[in-house]
Symmetry: C2
Subunit: 348 residues, 2 copies
């Protein structure tokens, strides 16, 4: 299968599941009273998003169910022990947690745009955005608590979900603290990425395994699959910012560099003695030229820093795919492998 | 027993339990990494607080255990079905949720002071305060998930805790929305108070009953005890603001009125045709005189509005005490009755 055919297949799988996930979000998070609060809570979810994390949740469930059916009953999903669980609620809860973190992160980072629309605090106000995030937080736990099945499993899921949320907060706190650090190491950066981004992918993959009562080694393998592919995803983001043309990126290529955002690439370059701060020191996102960016990228390439990040993303992806060996060999497990590849091969 | 002796007894009970609750908070919420995040998360908890909600949690457990012991093993608390549960973790989780709501509310209301110290966003910054609140939120769920005992009970506790958190967000949203409403009714105000304040008291009382495996009617009675006494507590706050001398209040008497804060008292007065907005229209907290406040209070008294609120608080307290009839007759259940009285008899 050519890379292009793989990408097509995984995009089709994502698109199909996005439809049903979106329908389920409407059901699980209705426009309740007070209306303004729920409008603000739903605003970002309605603005779009690929639903990658809930898709991982559904696919892990499908792979473990190992049934040859195109139309899974996600709401009454078969468990290994012969029971039923509402896998769709679990998927929706994961996506709602993701949405909550975006809303609060955008306030903290003062980002005006998200998913092509205004961020929630920009569209409404900071007070409403704080409260919308808080509401999504508790709704996610409410939704997850009612997936049915074995209470012991659901409780373990709640434990892991809350632990993941704590780590996300810690990761965001590290991210903010790192802005004023000039002695950051790649290892510290990776630790931040793991907590801020990757643990929720880990939860997205481990939760369905727990809910369908899979063996502990499968649960742990799925968690590691999620964490590793989530880390690769974030590292690849740094690479894409430098290597993908601005038209495809949808924003100025090299903007991380212009804005002095520390990435795995710049941290590696510093360790190689590159004067990273001097690379585009006089430029802004508005004034920087393609030639200046080309020169900066060339310096980073010569230092081996872009290859360093790309290699790490590929290595993590290969590791994550090996985790899938515990799964039955079927279409869903193949799609999980393709999805991991897609996370580092996609355009922006 | 004179009112004074009752108050003394309940204060002793609160103080004794506060010590052990504070020790447990230190254990369950250690100063982890990133240190600044956990410092900010612990800041308000360290600043003080009576620990009324976790005290309710412990007392309901003690009443149901019905054992004559001065030193309860809260960490290995006996359940009705012969098992054990860590009641102290449950109490700590409830207090942490309370602390989370205070931190985010202070940002939204732009309050600079809390518990006699700077509010978290004032001491640190808004970003840190948002994240500290979020961290407490997930830590509370993490702590609650590990109370042990029957997983079915713990899962039901997690369900109720997340549902309570959603209602708290809805209540805060209503509170903000009400600021721009001029047609608010006392009923709407009470609904807001129930969600914003009272449901967490309800959870504080229902959670221990659930965890020790009490019958459903006891769980519901405890929930209603908490909600009703919590509502009474909030209504009494409005009364105290007008009737307790400034020295005792620790702030200017009548400040709610000066700041045009709508309360049950003003809403009732409006319904009686009182020109509430004209009462202290030219005053600020700094310039208002005792004579002006006396005159305003006299107008509200003549309209029956202060008695209306006081009667409602007393009625709710009487109702809440009746809920305790399902409990065994012992020292702890007596203390729960005293505590309900204390909530409306206390100074500020």
């Amino acid at each position: 299968m050519t890379p292009n055919a793989t990408e097509k297949r995984v995009l089709t799988a994502i698109n199909e599941r996005r439809e049903v996930i979106n329908d389920a979000i409407d059901i699980e998070l209705p426009l309740a009273e007070p209306q303004r609060l729920y409008e603000a809570s739903r605003y970002l979810l309605e603005a779009g998003g690929k639903r990658l994390r809930p898709t991982v949740t559904l696919l892990v469930g499908e792979a473990l169910a190992d049934e040859d059916t195109a139309a899974f009953e996600y709401r009454a999903f078969p468990t290994c022990s012969g029971g039923e669980v509402d896998l769709m609620r679990a998927a929706v809860a994961i996506e709602i947690i993701q949405s909550f973190t975006l809303i609060h992160d955008d306030i903290m980072d003062d980002d005006d745009l998200r998913r092509g629309v205004k961020s929630v605090h920009n569209q409404y106000d900071t007070e409403t955005a704080i409260l919308a995030g808080d509401t999504l937080y508790s709704k996610a736990f409410e939704i997850m608590a009612d997936v049915g099945g074995d209470p012991t499993n659901t409780l373990e899921v709640m434990r892991r979900l809350s632990s993941a949320c704590t780590k996300i907060c810690e990761g965001q706190s590290l991210d903010v603290a790192f802005e004023s650090r000039d002695d950051l190491t790649p290892e510290e950066y990776l630790e931040m990425v793991e907590r801020k981004t990757a643990v929720l992918y880990g939860a997205a993959a481990a939760v369905p395994a727990l809910l369908v009562d899979a063996d502990d080694d499968i649960v742990e393998a799925m968690y590691n699959y999620g964490v590793e592919s989530g880390k690769a995803f974030q590292i690849q983001d740094d690479v894409l910012d430098l290597t993908v043309p601005s038209e495809e990126l949808g924003k100025q290529r090299g903007s991380d560099l212009v804005e002095n955002k520390e990435t795995l690439i710049t941290l590696h370059a510093r360790q190689q003695g590159v004067d990273v701060d001097g690379l585009l020191s006089d430029s802004t996102v508005e004034t920087v030229t393609e030639a200046e960016i080309d020169a900066a990228v060339k310096t980073l390439e010569d230092a081996g820093s872009i290859d360093y990040a790309r290699d790490m993303a590929e290595e993590l992806t290969a590791q994550s795919k090996k985790r899938l060996e515990v799964l039955p060999d079927n279409e869903a497990s193949d799609l999980l492998a393709d999805l991991a590849e897609y996370l580092i091969s996609r355009g922006y």
